[in-house]
């Protein structure tokens, strides 16, 4: 029998493509924001901050498109699950962009002081790890691959270890003056931003099994929690 809701499903497919595009923009923000920080590139940092408005715009546009489809099409089953997931996932990706804006702003605050090569090395590895996690999350979403999505939890341990390593390294430098303390705080915050970015990637991936199976959270566990509360 012929498909009866072709136009609606085309719009749904476009939204799914937009999620992939949003993830690509977030990934690009991670690259350009980190490069600006490590290269002392203030112009690059400003450009990254400006570009984030485009990412925000796409995320907000997607959100509106989802609400319109919910109101006008009354989606069911996998379509409903996909749409509500898109709203969540778009928000997570938008937050990644916002955190990279924070990294870019840290560039301005750190400038013109130099970063120790050890710190630069760890931050560069954090960039790689965040990028890799985001890639896995985006692929898992695009391919509706719940197994790949679950692999992200293990990957996230690597990011947590990197953050600890960064903090240890910061503490290994003597804070001789206020300027040194300020630098240490900025670098610690940058580490925290990357760790949060990786968490957002995990959040994206965590939504994928819902699209596939329809189970959002195990009901028994929810009931137990609510009973305790």
């Amino acid at each position: 029998m012929p498909e009866t809701r072709k136009v609606f499903h085309e719009e749904l497919d476009e939204l799914t493509s937009s999620v992939v595009r949003l993830a690509a923009m977030a990934s690009e923000a991670i690259q350009s924001g980190t490069s600006a920080l490590l290269d002392f590139d203030l112009a690059g940092a400003e450009q990254m901050i400006a570009d984030d408005r485009i990412l925000d715009g796409l995320a907000h546009d997607m959100e509106e498109r989802v609400y319109l489809l919910l109101a006008r099409q009354q989606p069911m089953a996998v379509d409903l699950r996909t749409l509500v997931t898109i709203v969540r996932v778009a928000h997570e990706l938008e937050r990644i962009g916002d955190l990279m804006v924070n990294v870019a702003k840290a560039t301005r605050r750190i400038y013109p002081r130099e970063l120790d090569p050890k710190l630069r090395g760890i931050i560069d590895r954090m960039r790689e790890q965040a990028t890799a996690q985001l890639q896995v999350a985006a692929d898992a979403f695009a391919d509706r691959d719940a197994e790949r999505a679950r692999a992200l939890n293990d990957m996230d341990d690597v990011m947590d270890d990197l953050q600890k390593e960064l903090f240890r390294t910061i503490f290994s430098f003597p804070a001789r003056d206020e300027a040194a303390v300020q630098l240490a705080v900025q670098v610690a915050l940058v580490g925290r931003y990357f760790e949060r970015i990786a968490d957002h990637a995990v959040n994206v991936a965590e939504r994928v099994p819902y699209i596939v199976t329809g189970t959002l959270f195990p009901r028994d566990a929810l009931d137990a929690t609510l009973t305790e509360a």
């Binding site: 012929p2 009866t4 069911m76 089953a77």
Partner: protein, 299 residues
Amino acid sequence: MSTDVSPGTRAPVRVWQGSDRGGPEAGDSATPGGPDPEMAGTPVFDLQALNVYYGKFRAVRDVNLQVRAKQITAFIGPSGCGKTTVLRCLNRMNDLVASARIDGTILYHGHDLYQPSVDPVEVRRRIGMVFQKPNPFPKSIYDNVAYGPRIGSMKGNMDDIVEQALRKAALWDEVKTRLKSSAQELSGGQQQRLCIARTIATQPEVILMDEPCSALDPIATTRIEDLMQDLKSEYTIVIVTHNMQQAARVSDKTAFFTAEVNPESDTRTGTLVEFDDTQKIFTSPSDERTESYVTGRFG
């Protein structure tokens, strides 16, 4: 549960003893110690391997499902999937079609609805039906509602019976000053609520609804849907609807039927694909065919 049921009250356990309008008696095997038939969630209908034929043509095959008390059960599916046919079996309306017959079993409170000793007229009093097109009699509003109780010699004050039925059907306030007016002066939505009142007046346990809103505008539709939620506390409702969103809005359980094409004869036989909580059917159905239907990936 009390075994003393005064005349005129519902006693769903003993449908088939036609003229016996009384309630279950002491010693009736269906009552003492058994599940309270009035209780929400107890099975009212149990369809076991139900097949429906019109002559040699099998219209519906192998339906197994349970309808539970004081729930709204929706039958959905494309045209020709057998949903209305199955609904009409539940109060033996198909008996009126000469070539129609069933095999398999329909249990009503554990008793075979199609046993020869069962009086189909009594069945239809206990299991009322509201049709697609509002079909009031060409009589006054009052007489429409009083019609069933009168021919059934129901005891009690007729004015009270009529008022109660109209109140339960959320129509009383709109018609109380013109009960003697012709029912055909009412709007479509009011006529349909009148038909619901007419059904309620005979004190049924179950109300079958065959596309009750398909001839109504959206406002009248939402009034009927609200009314169904009110009626659910007292009645078991089974509704056939073409409107998936309506099933999603109003029902507790949903049965999805589809039509299978018989390659050798180019005819279609309806079959039950999936029966589950409405929430499950519309958020994450188990069967791919249900998924395809509710998402509009096939017509």
